[in-house]
Protein backbone atom coordinates (compact mmCIF):
# COMPACT_ATOMS: atom_id res chain seq x y z
CA UNK A 1 0.00 0.00 0.00
CA UNK A 2 1.19 3.47 -0.84
CA UNK A 3 2.00 5.32 2.44
CA UNK A 4 1.45 8.62 0.64
CA UNK A 5 -2.29 7.87 0.71
CA UNK A 6 -2.33 9.16 4.27
CA UNK A 7 -4.07 12.53 4.40
CA UNK A 8 -5.47 12.22 0.90
CA UNK A 9 -8.96 13.69 0.43
CA UNK A 10 -11.03 12.41 -2.49
CA UNK A 11 -13.59 14.32 -4.54
CA UNK A 12 -17.17 14.00 -3.24
CA UNK A 13 -19.13 11.12 -4.79
CA UNK A 14 -22.44 11.70 -6.60
CA UNK A 15 -25.32 12.49 -4.21
CA UNK A 16 -27.29 9.52 -2.85
CA UNK A 17 -31.06 9.97 -2.59
CA UNK A 18 -32.41 7.93 0.34
CA UNK A 19 -35.57 6.16 -0.79
CA UNK A 20 -38.30 5.05 1.62
CA UNK A 21 -38.48 1.56 0.15
CA UNK A 22 -34.67 1.23 0.32
CA UNK A 23 -34.79 2.09 4.03
CA UNK A 24 -37.52 -0.50 4.57
CA UNK A 25 -35.66 -3.12 2.53
CA UNK A 26 -32.42 -2.49 4.45
CA UNK A 27 -34.31 -2.51 7.76
CA UNK A 28 -35.78 -5.94 7.04
CA UNK A 29 -32.36 -7.23 6.00
CA UNK A 30 -30.81 -6.29 9.37
CA UNK A 31 -33.77 -7.70 11.33
CA UNK A 32 -35.01 -4.24 12.36
CA UNK A 33 -38.56 -4.48 13.60
CA UNK A 34 -39.02 -1.01 15.05
CA UNK A 35 -42.04 0.67 13.38
CA UNK A 36 -40.03 3.91 13.05
CA UNK A 37 -37.80 2.07 10.54
CA UNK A 38 -40.71 0.69 8.57
CA UNK A 39 -43.90 2.72 8.89
CA UNK A 40 -44.00 6.40 7.79
CA UNK A 41 -46.96 7.08 10.11
CA UNK A 42 -45.08 5.71 13.13
CA UNK A 43 -42.01 7.70 12.12
CA UNK A 44 -44.03 10.92 11.82
CA UNK A 45 -45.71 10.27 15.16
CA UNK A 46 -42.20 10.10 16.68
CA UNK A 47 -41.32 13.47 15.15
CA UNK A 48 -39.43 12.33 12.03
CA UNK A 49 -40.14 13.47 8.47
CA UNK A 50 -40.26 9.86 7.18
CA UNK A 51 -38.93 6.40 8.04
CA UNK A 52 -35.59 6.48 9.88
CA UNK A 53 -32.73 4.34 8.59
CA UNK A 54 -31.07 1.78 10.89
CA UNK A 55 -27.75 2.91 12.43
CA UNK A 56 -25.66 0.92 9.91
CA UNK A 57 -27.49 2.18 6.79
CA UNK A 58 -24.78 4.79 6.22
CA UNK A 59 -22.60 1.96 4.87
CA UNK A 60 -24.74 2.02 1.71
CA UNK A 61 -23.84 5.67 1.19
CA UNK A 62 -20.21 5.12 2.20
CA UNK A 63 -19.68 2.24 -0.23
CA UNK A 64 -19.00 4.44 -3.28
CA UNK A 65 -16.23 6.23 -1.38
CA UNK A 66 -14.49 2.98 -0.45
CA UNK A 67 -14.71 1.98 -4.12
CA UNK A 68 -12.81 5.20 -4.92
CA UNK A 69 -10.09 4.23 -2.46
CA UNK A 70 -9.71 0.70 -3.82
CA UNK A 71 -9.62 2.03 -7.40
CA UNK A 72 -7.00 4.70 -6.70
CA UNK A 73 -4.32 4.09 -9.37
CA UNK A 74 -1.34 4.72 -7.08
CA UNK A 75 -3.00 3.27 -3.95
CA UNK A 76 -1.50 -0.17 -4.25
CA UNK A 77 -4.43 -1.80 -2.43
CA UNK A 78 -5.18 -5.34 -3.66
CA UNK A 79 -8.88 -5.65 -2.88
CA UNK A 80 -8.74 -9.46 -2.93
CA UNK A 81 -6.59 -9.19 0.23
CA UNK A 82 -8.78 -6.65 2.02
CA UNK A 83 -10.56 -7.64 5.23
CA UNK A 84 -12.90 -5.33 7.15
CA UNK A 85 -11.28 -4.62 10.51
CA UNK A 86 -13.31 -1.95 12.29
CA UNK A 87 -16.38 0.11 11.52
CA UNK A 88 -17.88 3.13 13.21
CA UNK A 89 -20.76 5.52 12.53
CA UNK A 90 -20.99 8.87 14.33
CA UNK A 91 -24.25 10.70 13.75
CA UNK A 92 -25.18 14.37 14.08
CA UNK A 93 -28.74 13.44 13.13
CA UNK A 94 -30.40 10.26 11.84
CA UNK A 95 -30.74 9.44 8.14
CA UNK A 96 -34.38 9.77 7.05
CA UNK A 97 -36.03 8.81 3.76
CA UNK A 98 -35.91 11.78 1.40
CA UNK A 99 -32.42 12.86 2.42
CA UNK A 100 -29.98 13.64 -0.37
CA UNK A 101 -26.57 12.73 0.98
CA UNK A 102 -23.09 13.47 -0.30
CA UNK A 103 -20.05 11.56 0.96
CA UNK A 104 -16.44 12.70 0.89
CA UNK A 105 -13.60 10.32 1.71
CA UNK A 106 -10.39 11.14 3.53
CA UNK A 107 -7.63 8.66 4.38
CA UNK A 108 -6.78 9.44 7.99
CA UNK A 109 -4.26 6.73 8.82
CA UNK A 110 -1.99 4.15 7.22
CA UNK A 111 -0.19 1.66 9.44
CA UNK A 112 1.87 -1.46 9.01
CA UNK A 113 1.67 -4.29 11.51
CA UNK A 114 3.45 -7.59 11.13
CA UNK A 115 3.33 -7.73 7.34
CA UNK A 116 -0.23 -6.45 7.17
CA UNK A 117 -1.25 -2.90 6.36
CA UNK A 118 -4.17 -1.05 7.88
CA UNK A 119 -5.87 1.89 6.26
CA UNK A 120 -8.41 4.02 8.08
CA UNK A 121 -10.83 5.80 5.77
CA UNK A 122 -13.28 8.40 7.00
CA UNK A 123 -16.35 9.27 4.89
CA UNK A 124 -18.01 12.50 5.90
CA UNK A 125 -21.65 12.52 4.85
CA UNK A 126 -23.61 15.78 4.56
CA UNK A 127 -27.15 16.61 3.51
CA UNK A 128 -28.40 18.82 0.66
CA UNK A 129 -28.11 21.88 2.92
CA UNK A 130 -24.47 21.07 3.62
CA UNK A 131 -25.08 20.06 7.24
CA UNK A 132 -23.23 17.09 8.72
CA UNK A 133 -25.32 13.93 9.06
CA UNK A 134 -22.89 11.11 9.83
CA UNK A 135 -19.25 10.17 9.58
CA UNK A 136 -18.54 6.57 8.62
CA UNK A 137 -15.11 5.31 9.58
CA UNK A 138 -13.71 2.04 8.26
CA UNK A 139 -10.45 0.38 9.02
CA UNK A 140 -9.47 -2.05 6.30
CA UNK A 141 -6.76 -4.63 6.83
CA UNK A 142 -4.76 -5.54 3.75
CA UNK A 143 -3.13 -8.93 4.30
CA UNK A 144 0.51 -9.17 3.30
CA UNK A 145 2.04 -11.86 1.09
CA UNK A 146 1.62 -15.31 2.65
Amino acid sequence: MNPELQGRVFPPVAPYLVGREKVREFSRAVFASNPINLDPEAARAAGHADVVAPPTFAVVVQEATLAQLLAEPDGGIDFTRVVHGDQRFSYSRPIVAGDELTATLAVTSIKSLGGHSMVTAESTIIDAAGAHVVTAISTLVVRGDE
Binding site: K22, E25, F26, R28, A29, V30, F31, A32, S33, N34, I36, N37, A46, H48, V52, A53, P54, P55, T56, V59, V60, E63, T80, V83, H84, G85, D86, Q87, R88, F89, S90, Y91, R93, P94, I137
Partner: protein, 140 residues
Amino acid sequence: MTPVLTELTVGDIVAEASFALTRDSLVRYAGASGDFNSIHYRDDVAQSVGLSGVLAHGMLTMGLAVQPVVDWAGDPARVLDYQVRFTRPVFVDATDGATVAVVARVGAVDLEALIARIDLTVTFNGATVLGKAQARVNLA
Protein backbone atom coordinates in the same frame (compact mmCIF):
# COMPACT_ATOMS: atom_id res chain seq x y z
CA MET B 1 -41.22 4.53 27.07
CA THR B 2 -37.70 5.88 26.87
CA PRO B 3 -35.37 4.29 29.42
CA VAL B 4 -34.49 6.57 32.34
CA LEU B 5 -30.77 7.28 32.52
CA THR B 6 -30.64 7.70 36.29
CA GLU B 7 -32.13 4.23 36.73
CA LEU B 8 -29.28 2.56 34.84
CA THR B 9 -26.34 0.88 36.55
CA VAL B 10 -23.15 -0.11 34.78
CA GLY B 11 -23.32 -3.83 34.07
CA ASP B 12 -27.13 -4.02 33.87
CA ILE B 13 -28.39 -6.15 31.00
CA VAL B 14 -30.85 -3.98 29.07
CA ALA B 15 -31.61 -6.31 26.16
CA GLU B 16 -30.93 -9.83 24.91
CA ALA B 17 -31.82 -11.41 21.59
CA SER B 18 -30.79 -14.16 19.27
CA PHE B 19 -30.96 -14.13 15.49
CA ALA B 20 -31.32 -17.19 13.29
CA LEU B 21 -29.40 -16.56 10.09
CA THR B 22 -29.82 -18.64 6.95
CA ARG B 23 -28.32 -18.37 3.50
CA ASP B 24 -31.53 -16.54 2.60
CA SER B 25 -30.64 -13.85 5.17
CA LEU B 26 -27.29 -13.33 3.45
CA VAL B 27 -28.84 -13.03 -0.01
CA ARG B 28 -31.36 -10.55 1.36
CA TYR B 29 -28.61 -8.49 2.98
CA ALA B 30 -26.50 -8.60 -0.18
CA GLY B 31 -29.38 -7.14 -2.18
CA ALA B 32 -30.33 -4.54 0.41
CA SER B 33 -26.77 -3.32 0.99
CA GLY B 34 -25.29 -3.76 -2.47
CA ASP B 35 -22.46 -5.95 -1.10
CA PHE B 36 -22.37 -8.80 -3.62
CA ASN B 37 -19.04 -10.30 -2.58
CA SER B 38 -19.59 -13.96 -3.52
CA ILE B 39 -17.91 -15.32 -0.35
CA HIS B 40 -21.31 -14.54 1.21
CA TYR B 41 -23.25 -16.93 -1.01
CA ARG B 42 -20.84 -19.36 -2.73
CA ASP B 43 -19.02 -22.04 -0.76
CA ASP B 44 -16.58 -22.70 -3.59
CA VAL B 45 -15.47 -19.06 -3.69
CA ALA B 46 -15.22 -18.88 0.12
CA GLN B 47 -13.12 -22.07 0.15
CA SER B 48 -10.85 -20.74 -2.60
CA VAL B 49 -9.73 -17.96 -0.22
CA GLY B 50 -9.14 -20.33 2.68
CA LEU B 51 -12.48 -20.09 4.50
CA SER B 52 -14.41 -23.19 5.56
CA GLY B 53 -17.50 -21.93 3.75
CA VAL B 54 -19.93 -19.07 3.28
CA LEU B 55 -19.84 -16.46 6.01
CA ALA B 56 -22.20 -13.64 6.97
CA HIS B 57 -21.34 -10.09 5.93
CA GLY B 58 -19.65 -8.43 8.89
CA MET B 59 -21.95 -5.47 8.30
CA LEU B 60 -24.98 -7.77 8.64
CA THR B 61 -23.76 -8.95 12.04
CA MET B 62 -23.06 -5.34 13.02
CA GLY B 63 -26.46 -4.25 11.74
CA LEU B 64 -28.53 -6.86 13.56
CA ALA B 65 -26.53 -6.67 16.80
CA VAL B 66 -27.69 -3.11 17.48
CA GLN B 67 -31.38 -3.87 16.95
CA PRO B 68 -32.04 -4.97 20.56
CA VAL B 69 -30.57 -1.60 21.62
CA VAL B 70 -32.85 0.26 19.18
CA ASP B 71 -35.88 -1.55 20.58
CA TRP B 72 -34.81 -0.84 24.15
CA ALA B 73 -34.22 2.86 23.38
CA GLY B 74 -37.52 3.03 21.49
CA ASP B 75 -36.30 4.97 18.45
CA PRO B 76 -33.42 4.24 16.03
CA ALA B 77 -32.64 7.98 16.02
CA ARG B 78 -31.41 7.66 19.61
CA VAL B 79 -28.32 5.75 18.50
CA LEU B 80 -25.74 8.54 18.09
CA ASP B 81 -22.63 6.48 17.59
CA TYR B 82 -22.01 2.79 16.97
CA GLN B 83 -18.72 0.99 16.51
CA VAL B 84 -17.47 -2.58 16.30
CA ARG B 85 -14.33 -4.56 15.55
CA PHE B 86 -14.75 -7.65 13.42
CA THR B 87 -12.89 -10.42 15.22
CA ARG B 88 -14.31 -13.76 13.99
CA PRO B 89 -16.39 -14.88 11.02
CA VAL B 90 -19.95 -16.16 11.36
CA PHE B 91 -20.15 -19.23 9.14
CA VAL B 92 -23.67 -19.88 7.88
CA ASP B 93 -24.33 -23.52 7.10
CA ALA B 94 -26.46 -24.19 4.01
CA THR B 95 -28.92 -26.37 5.91
CA ASP B 96 -28.49 -25.49 9.60
CA GLY B 97 -27.83 -21.75 9.26
CA ALA B 98 -26.22 -19.95 12.20
CA THR B 99 -27.47 -18.42 15.42
CA VAL B 100 -26.01 -15.10 16.58
CA ALA B 101 -26.69 -14.15 20.20
CA VAL B 102 -26.58 -10.58 21.49
CA VAL B 103 -26.40 -9.38 25.09
CA ALA B 104 -26.53 -5.61 25.64
CA ARG B 105 -25.22 -4.20 28.91
CA VAL B 106 -24.79 -0.70 30.28
CA GLY B 107 -21.13 0.20 29.81
CA ALA B 108 -21.16 3.79 31.01
CA VAL B 109 -23.63 6.50 31.96
CA ASP B 110 -23.02 10.16 31.18
CA LEU B 111 -25.49 12.15 33.28
CA GLU B 112 -24.38 15.50 31.86
CA ALA B 113 -24.64 14.61 28.18
CA LEU B 114 -27.65 12.32 28.90
CA ILE B 115 -26.01 9.49 27.00
CA ALA B 116 -25.70 5.81 27.89
CA ARG B 117 -22.96 3.69 26.40
CA ILE B 118 -24.29 0.22 25.72
CA ASP B 119 -21.74 -2.55 25.29
CA LEU B 120 -22.68 -5.54 23.16
CA THR B 121 -21.51 -9.10 23.58
CA VAL B 122 -22.14 -10.84 20.27
CA THR B 123 -21.48 -14.57 20.01
CA PHE B 124 -21.71 -17.39 17.49
CA ASN B 125 -21.00 -21.00 18.51
CA GLY B 126 -19.98 -19.78 21.97
CA ALA B 127 -17.26 -17.40 20.77
CA THR B 128 -17.46 -13.62 20.45
CA VAL B 129 -17.48 -12.36 16.87
CA LEU B 130 -17.39 -8.61 17.51
CA GLY B 131 -14.93 -6.76 19.71
CA LYS B 132 -15.37 -3.34 21.29
CA ALA B 133 -18.99 -3.28 20.14
CA GLN B 134 -20.40 -0.10 21.65
CA ALA B 135 -23.42 2.06 20.97
CA ARG B 136 -23.85 5.53 22.42
CA VAL B 137 -27.55 6.15 23.02
CA ASN B 138 -29.19 9.53 23.57
CA LEU B 139 -31.61 9.26 26.50
CA ALA B 140 -32.44 12.97 26.77
